[in-house]
Symmetry: D2
Subunit: 224 residues, 4 copies
Amino acid sequence: MTQMNGKRVVITQTSAFMGKDLVDRFSAEGAILIADDRDLKVQGAAEALIAEAGHVDVLIANLAAAQPRTSVLDTDDGTFQAMYEAMVFPLHRLVRAVLPMMISRRQGKIVVMGSASALKGMPNYSAYGSARGAQLAYVQDVGTEVAPHNVHVNAIAQTFVENPTYFPASYQATTEFKERIKGAPLGRLAYGWEAAALALFLAGNESNFFVGQIFPFSGGWVTR
Amino acid sequence: MTQMNGKRVVITQTSAFMGKDLVDRFSAEGAILIADDRDLKVQGAAEALIAEAGHVDVLIANLAAAQPRTSVLDTDDGTFQAMYEAMVFPLHRLVRAVLPMMISRRQGKIVVMGSASALKGMPNYSAYGSARGAQLAYVQDVGTEVAPHNVHVNAIAQTFVENPTYFPASYQATTEFKERIKGAPLGRLAYGWEAAALALFLAGNESNFFVGQIFPFSGGWVTR
Amino acid sequence: MTQMNGKRVVITQTSAFMGKDLVDRFSAEGAILIADDRDLKVQGAAEALIAEAGHVDVLIANLAAAQPRTSVLDTDDGTFQAMYEAMVFPLHRLVRAVLPMMISRRQGKIVVMGSASALKGMPNYSAYGSARGAQLAYVQDVGTEVAPHNVHVNAIAQTFVENPTYFPASYQATTEFKERIKGAPLGRLAYGWEAAALALFLAGNESNFFVGQIFPFSGGWVTR
Amino acid sequence: MTQMNGKRVVITQTSAFMGKDLVDRFSAEGAILIADDRDLKVQGAAEALIAEAGHVDVLIANLAAAQPRTSVLDTDDGTFQAMYEAMVFPLHRLVRAVLPMMISRRQGKIVVMGSASALKGMPNYSAYGSARGAQLAYVQDVGTEVAPHNVHVNAIAQTFVENPTYFPASYQATTEFKERIKGAPLGRLAYGWEAAALALFLAGNESNFFVGQIFPFSGGWVTR
């Protein structure tokens, strides 16, 4: 398939979260990939990445940080703010850097790889989940703002998807995981390629009517 | 493209709503179409359609009735219940008829062409909107119920999509329409083929992780 | 307390669902109660009730029917439609009968006692849950439509609330119930008076800024 | 009325947002108020406030910052992060400081005064709206986490409410405002006391079945 034939696609933080599956699929679809793994928490890194990339048709904002899994009482300021420094502030920098060329060309797609944990309360998720919630509200606002410029910004709010950051094999072996997965009607993890397929749909030309929208992707765990 | 190559796809009420665009796209994708236009309000019609269809891989439940656009005070019982007889009761009959073969094969897709009007309050929509709301809750419940059988039931909740039933050219020419469309960030109608593309995505093999989910499709008018 | 002092409040189907708790609380608040238990499925019954009631300040639409708890395959047309005949069609008749006087006085409150099962997919709920979904979409539409007349229509979408229809002591003793309640963060049933307190808040003068809104009430089981 | 009789209630940032109306209402209800207006962006300020307050029954987290109203392109890092420093990081510090005593007493209420702008995309809201989105996701997670301790954490997501920070008289006089308010079915601003009445309901003993929930409060502008 060649849905991305010749399109220039930036994928960030490729060693984490959905990076590998996104790279595999967008490559297979003929994209010219700018697959990047620099640390986007560093001042200026996001802007440099976009500057180096040149012409960008699609930005896949794949940002991740290990979930601290601490109770709210045990979540100190540093732990809390680290989630924002890894997942929220770099998102804004990436988006702000890439939008001008998309707006001036009246063409462009941004897909944010987010989390369903922002859609439903979970214990020990206050730092991680709230930062993911910031991402989703950000996508709603930016998506609405740039819609009249024919630029499409949407987010996937996923959980129960195989990936090395949040669902490594070691975690899948735990009792905790086995209990949690019962909460999903499908009762299985998504393959990474399934999340990549959704990202591809949102990056392609057949999804132009979506703007500022959040796509829960969770095997039925959360559907709104 | 041949995403539906050889798959047997039932599309209902083809002369209305998204029928034509669905038929066009699924044909182009290689589906073996059972494109039907019988009146599904008639007792036994839904069951007969499925019986005649034989093996069904995909059911696209495209059901529509003219929106009465009456105030709640002017909506008599007959008008109110007619919405359910056209859009809700036949949906259950179709689903109930087609599910056994899908469950026994552990494979099948049902896509319900629903309405975003069920997601946001609108004046003069009490009959139509509430019937559309019944459809969406039905999809949530059935989708959750049959998920363990590897059958996937989802719905599109659309508005501002070109189609002969709800957005004919005559309506697009009205002042009312021109005011309404301002409420959608994208500021345009979707082409019918864009809704068909979403239906195709939900009918295909790359969306197997979605169950019982509602996809708002409205150019940003409603995103939850 | 006397938040309802002298207000004329209709409560329907008082022997079922939240009837008793609503009667107790609204009485205690000084309401002049029209507590009615006639069968509202009967043609003309809803209209007769409102006509007999005379001046109505508040309508609490408390409508219930035993949940069939059948799989979608086992839900025949009669079972399916019975849910709508008990909970949806009478709701419209009640609302249509009571609204004219509220609109002409530019004052009135309608509270619909609905179900959270319409907000989240559940197996074996296709008939019951979809009818409850119709109620919620109806409230959104009617609430939006009559808002400019200063009439306020809202709904409670509850579950895990003690009541004789859905959570009788016999059901609370089952293993199924004990499993289900684990899904609610609070881990307990609401007392009936807690749902009545919410209904009271929505029927009173301090909640005039809510229109067409759905209030999930479920101990955290569903919050959207 | 004396719903708060003798309860010790902390209200923050009283000179901004809903501060004055909250103080007025909770005073009138007999609360022992700790009405504070220190700058909570300052390191240690939140913790000091709670330490000084001693026994706290209710925390009303009223946090605000002027909306920059800049396009995403014009929102520099400083402007963006300032929203989080004013509204998100202090929220966590307040909550973390006050929860231990509430958990140990198995009693306590936290109400976060949030914004409906986090629930619906709006142009020029990327910084403000995303920070407000972080607040709401935070409330979902913390509310779920502490529910088993009988501590209740919920949020109001308001807009179109009179207050000196976001809807001063000068803004109400603008054409922009007059256009925006048309989007709300009720077509009016809420009085500040109406938001305070909702906060009171959520701070009182009759709303104990709500945890981790977001209450849209917007005259029908957004209802989910």
